[in-house]
């Protein structure tokens, strides 16, 4: 008994490292072993349990139902046992550890049988010694033989021989018997004796066979595995001497296999019996573990060893400092604990106060602890003293060394021992922010780069480098060598050196002594961490820490060089989902915003109220597409997206227009720091500086390239390209009753008679089919009176009019006219034409026109044609044409510009100097105030593009005010030739019918 206890007590000191071989063979051996010892030992342990007066702590994950073993749960665990349920979670961790040790116990015991004195004593004390004694006697037959001795002396030689024979027989028989006896008796020891040699035996020979008990895996509620194992253990113990003991050999669970408990038994019925009445276990879902999988099931997961050294970074798994970064200060000798330096999370009694006031039991602090965790900050001695002076004490030896509530604070950091099993040592990946907390000063100079690099390297030993990376050796004998990575083989990186001595050589370096090398001005992309996907230019390099200026944000960010990669592209993360940086997005019915920054999963936007806010992509209703929106600036010039504008008041923002939304514009200016360079301005407060692509704006009268296109000049307007419109005429439609031929469409070629007609459509009774169809007049060919040819509708209508002497304006002309056109034209033209001495009257007007017009106009080749005598009479003879000319348009025209327009017409002689004076006095082309209006009006007239949309606006808006102005004649005069030029050559001058026209007009 005492020996057993000794053995268990000594357990923790036993080194846990056992070879896996034993782990795997253990089930079989144990089972054999167990069958032998079961009964004796069960008895012992049960006795012991009773003596201790309470249930044994069932801390073990793997517990032998037979109770062969025990564990070394410490006192704490015993206490906590009562509140098992509450503490479950916390215990799990402990159990994990002990799990390991427990598993190791079985083989350990066996080994001890051989080598330890304690075991030997125990064996002697107990049954084996007795057996031995018995057997010793039997072996030699010593005692018996002594009895026979006397007989030998008394009887004769025959007896001697008899005895000899007997002896020989006995000896012969004994040899066999002994062998079997010994085998039976020391079989176990013999097996363990073999062990040493069997280490070389392949492990597959040691795996369990079909003769061994089976292992059943039973589904249970995840998380309850350990509790269930404990319950089974208790059940086994309590039923051991009842009529129905549990026939299971072991019960255990594995952390790797969540939601299963495993029972080892001979029969499935035994397992079912063991599980009846146990909650949270689903005995129906039972699987028999295949024998080959036993080893996998029981394999020890060796954690990849990360060697902790003072200075390395770890994270704390649980408790108040869960997830916090800590620095290893020291390691305990047994390697189970580490002294850590942590930024303390103290609230200096505030929570307690609050809880006290609220009447909550301070002892039930669990809930409070979870709900609010004090922020991590350095220890504040004074605050601590105020809150709990009794537990505050300053170490005299060092100034900045305090003990507060039983814990030690040095230089503001908490120095505390933690179990290593409660620490995360892998993939710590400290962020720069966390690390800076550990630096003594706020500046990053204080970062312990050595240790940082160490833990970072541990975290990502190989993945960091890629072939082609520029790297530098920062430790070891090759320090200072740099080059490009050629290949990577696990932790060994081959680099092509670029330093002088080794130029071009291939050097193999462990990756932990390498770091990426960058130069000032390199364009890089961040590939990890908080700033992932930002790009920027390197401005400073200090060992492992690189500062870059972001391309888009223009802000300085500092990252580890391992997180950087050389990049040629820009921006990186400027889109998220379907939205991009600088997109205009709809937030609500009356709020839009411009995306100014794209973060990992959110957008930073500047909304139409000027507020910058962070929103989720889901908050965006839609993207607003207004690429073609435009507005007018404070000078009335047109501004469009892409123009550069400047705010005239307010903050004086300047930049390129990203978006125009109602009366607001979003500008972008790279040199602005605020809101990533995006600002919101009112369009009325900005002036255009430069238009995108040199587009002509009101303020910026650049050369109009369309002027260079002569076609545009001549055409005057794009209606010239359209088929001429047919004038409306009064009276009966002349087409009615005509014989026509369909020239287009499905009825092409058919003859018919026009029965009825509207402006554009005729109804035709076909000759061939008795059918009346409706067809456009232009698709008809009119069979002329002689019947030998068909003429088009246009021809049919037009010449007839001339022949009829029906004086009417030229169709194109009138059709093209808009009221404002006619108004503008008439007075200007009339004087010019009406004046008797054409050259005198017109010359100044021409001169003015020439001056103002673009060079293209100065193709004065037209002027001679203009004043050609041939044509003039035709025009001049319009004495009685004039009334017919503008019967409709004159009245508005007159009223519009009064006598100003007409006077020159009457006395042309007077007009010329006046004109001259006025135009020179005002110099409309130079004076800015006029300069624009005539320019606009002037440009507007001949430019087809302009005429389409803005011109009418311009004319109607600006003219009335200036109509009476003296400058008007110049303005309109200037235009006149343009119009006439447009109209005349095309309509009149080139028209072969003009001669015919002249006689017709009177």
């Amino acid at each position: 008994m005492s020996a057993l206890e000794n053995m268990f007590d000594s357990d923790p000191e036993e080194d846990g490292v056992r070879d896996e071989a034993r782990e795997e063979e253990q089930p079989r051996q144990q089972k054999e072993h167990r069958r032998e010892d079961d009964e004796d030992e069960n008895k012992d342990i049960l006795e012991k349990t009773e003596v201790s007066g309470k249930q044994r702590p069932p801390g073990d994950a793997v517990e032998r139902a037979g109770g062969e073993e025990d564990d070394e749960e410490d006192a704490n665990d015993l206490d906590e046992d009562d509140e098992e349920d509450e503490e479950d979670e916390e215990d799990e961790e402990d159990e994990e550890d002990e799990d390991g040790t427990t598993r190791r116990k079985r083989p350990r015991r066996e080994r001890r049988n051989q080598f330890l004195d304690v075991e030997a004593e125990v064996d002697e004390d107990e049954e084996e010694l007795e057996e031995d004694e018995d057997e010793l006697g039997r072996e030699d037959g010593f005692i018996q033989d002594e009895g026979h001795e006397g007989d030998f002396e008394r009887v004769d030689d025959r007896l001697h021989r008899e005895v000899d024979r007997q002896r020989a027989a006995i000896a012969e028989a004994d040899a066999e018997r002994l062998a079997s006896e010994y085998r039976e008796k020391y079989g176990r020891s013999a097996a363990s004796k073999y062990r040493g040699e069997m280490n070389v035996v392949p492990q597959r020979l040691l795996v369990p066979s079909v003769n061994d008990p089976n292992i059943w895996g039973v589904r249970c509620k995840p998380g309850k595995e350990k509790a269930i194992v404990r319950t089974i253990w208790r059940k086994k113990a309590s039923l051991q001497y009842s009529n129905h003991p549990l026939e299971i050999l072991s019960a255990f669970q594995r952390d790797n296999f969540n939601g299963y408990v495993y029972l080892e038994a001979r029969k499935m019925a035994d397992v079912e019996y063991a599980l009846t009445g146990i909650v949270n276990v689903y005995a129906r879902q039972m699987i028999l573990v295949p024998i080959p999988e036993y080893t996998d099931l029981l394999r020890v997961n060796k954690g990849s060893d990360v060697e902790l050294v003072p200075g390395s970074y770890v994270r704390i798994k649980r408790g108040k400092y869960q997830g916090d970064l800590a620095v290893v200060e020291d390691l305990s000798e047994n390697g189970l604990e580490a002294q850590l330096k942590v930024v303390p999370r103290l609230d200096y009694g505030r929570t307690q106060e609050i809880l006290g006031q609220a009447g909550i039991d301070v002892k039930r602090k669990r809930a409070a602890k979870l709900s609010s965790r004090p922020a991590a900050r350095l220890f504040a001695p004074m605050e601590a003293r105020m809150s709990d002076p009794k537990n505050w004490q300053q170490r005299q030896a060092k100034d900045n060394h305090y003990i507060f509530q039983g814990e030690e604070y040095i230089n503001g950091y908490l120095i505390k021992d933690f179990r290593i099993s409660h620490l995360i040592t892998e993939n710590v990946e400290p962020t720069l922010e966390e690390v800076t907390k550990f630096s003594s000063t706020a500046d990053d100079e204080g970062i312990d780069l050595q240790s940082l690099a160490l833990s970072l390297k541990q975290a990502s030993s190989s993945g960091t480098f890629q072939p082609g990376d520029h790297v530098e050796v920062h430790e070891g004998e090759q320090t200072g060598v740099y080059g490009r990575v050629v290949s990577i083989d696990r932790d060994i990186v081959s680099i092509r050196a670029e330093t002088d001595g080794l130029n071009g050589q291939l050097v193999e370096i462990p990756s932990k002594s390498l770091r990426k090398k960058f130069n000032q001005g390199d364009h890089v992309r961040v590939i990890g961490g908080k700033y992932k996907d930002e790009t920027g230019m390197v401005v400073r390099i200090k060992d492992d820490v690189v500062s870059i200026i972001g391309d888009l944000s223009m802000a300085e960010i500092t990252v580890f060089s391992k997180d950087l990669k050389e990049a040629s592209d820009i921006g990186g993360r400027n889109s998220l989902g379907k939205y991009q940086i600088h997109d205009l997005v709809q937030l609500s019915a009356n709020n839009v915003a411009c995306i100014i920054k794209v973060e990992r999963d959110a957008f930073r936007v500047l909304d139409i109220n000027g507020n910058a806010q962070t929103i989720l992509p889901s908050a965006i209703t839609m993207k607003v597409d207004n690429k073609f929106s435009f507005a007018t600036d404070r000078n009335g010039s047109e501004i469009r997206v892409g123009d550069t504008v400047k705010e005239t008041d307010g903050e004086g923002h300047q930049g390129v227009i990203l978006h125009i939304y109602r009366t607001n514009a979003f500008l972008h200016d790279r040199s602005q720091n605020e809101n990533a360079g995006v600002s919101l301005v009112r369009t009325r407060n900005v002036t255009a500086i430069a238009a995108k692509g040199g587009r002509i704006t009101g303020a910026n009268n650049g050369p109009d390239l369309t002027k260079m296109n002569p076609k545009m000049q001549i055409g005057g307007n794009q209606q010239g390209m359209l088929p001429p419109t047919i004038p409306r005429q009064g009276g009966r439609d002349r087409t009615i009753g005509q014989t026509v031929k369909v020239r287009q469409g499905p009825y092409k070629g058919l003859l018919g008679i026009v029965k009825d007609a509207t402006d554009a459509v005729a109804r035709i009774e076909l000759h061939s089919k008795s059918k009346i169809i409706s067809i456009e007049k232009t698709k008809l060919g009119f069979v002329d009176s002689r019947g030998d040819k068909t003429v088009s509708y246009e021809e049919f209508v037009t010449p007839k009019k001339f022949l009829n002497g029906n004086v009417a304006p030229i169709p194109q002309y009138q059709g093209a006219q808009t009221p404002s056109w006619q108004g503008g034209k008439t007075p200007a033209r009339t004087p010019a034409w009406a004046s008797a001495d054409l050259p005198g009257g017109r010359t100044p007007a021409w001169a003015a026109a020439d001056g103002g017009r673009t060079p293209a106009w100065s193709a004065s080749s037209r002027t001679p044609a203009w004043s050609s005598g041939a044509k003039t009479p035709a025009y001049g003879s319009s004495g009685n044409r004039t009334p017919a000319w503008n019967p409709g348009s004159r009245t508005p025209g007159r009223s519009a510009w009064d006598a100003g327009g007409r006077t020159p017409r009457d006395d042309s002689g007077m007009r010329t100097p006046a004109w001259h004076d006025e135009s020179s006095a005002h110099t409309p082309w130079e004076d800015p105030s006029y300069g624009r209006t005539p320019g606009a009006a002037y440009n507007a007239a001949p430019t087809p593009g302009a005429i389409s949309a803005p011109t009418p606006g311009v004319i109607s808006a600006s003219t009335p005010g200036r109509w009476d102005d003296v400058a008007i004649p110049a303005v309109y005069d200037a235009k006149t030739p343009g119009i006439m030029a447009a109209a005349t050559p095309a309509a009149w001058g080139d028209e072969p019918e003009t001669p015919r026209y002249a006689p017709a007009s009177p």
């Binding site: 401005v539 296109n709 002569p710």
Partner: protein, 171 residues
């Protein structure tokens, strides 16, 4: 650094421009398209030389569209900033992370890290400025700086500069 560079550009012309003034149109179109632009290869095209001696080839009508393509050869002054080049610049804006300056068309940013440590940003001055005992960098100041890195965006370039060396700084 400035270079004299022979370049060419192909211009596509709409048939309505074909006529006596076609060449002058091509010339003005060339100037408009090319002057002041920036490419990563050559940097900024500052000026097209010899405006009258621009070589326009005969042109080729593009099948299917009626337009014609002209190869226009010209000689231009280009300016490309290089890493390590020392240039003079005019400061355009100053803020707490550094200052921006213009070198002609090129915008340069000088980070605080690349400003001598004795120059401190003083936001209370009007205008805000970097000041040391004998120097002040504010908006409009003329500085001499060294380009430490350039970046080519579409249609423009950008550079990072440094004044943290001897003989650099306010002029």
């Amino acid at each position: 650094m400035f270079f004299l560079k022979d370049l060419s550009l192909s211009i596509t012309l709409h048939p309505s421009y074909f006529g006596p003034s076609m060449h002058s149109y091509l010339r003005s179109k060339l100037l408009q398209d090319v002057e002041g632009t920036c490419s990563g290869e050559y940097g900024y095209i500052i000026y097209v030389m010899d405006g009258m001696r621009i070589d326009v080839d005969k042109g080729r009508v593009i099948p299917g569209s009626g337009g014609a393509e002209f190869e226009v050869k010209y000689r231009a002054i280009v300016w490309k900033p290089f890493k390590g080049e020392v240039v003079d610049a005019v400061v355009t804006s100053v803020n707490n992370i550094g200052f921006f300056a213009d070198v002609g068309p090129l915008g340069v940013f000088v980070s605080t890290k690349l400003i001598p440590s004795d120059m401190r940003f003083d936001p209370n001055l009007n205008p805000p400025a970097y000041v040391s005992e004998d120097q002040t960098i504010e908006k409009g100041s003329h500085v001499r700086l060294k380009i430490v890195g350039t970046r080519v965006d579409v249609g423009e370039m950008f550079a990072i500069g440094s004044i943290k060396e001897d003989y650099l700084g306010v002029l």
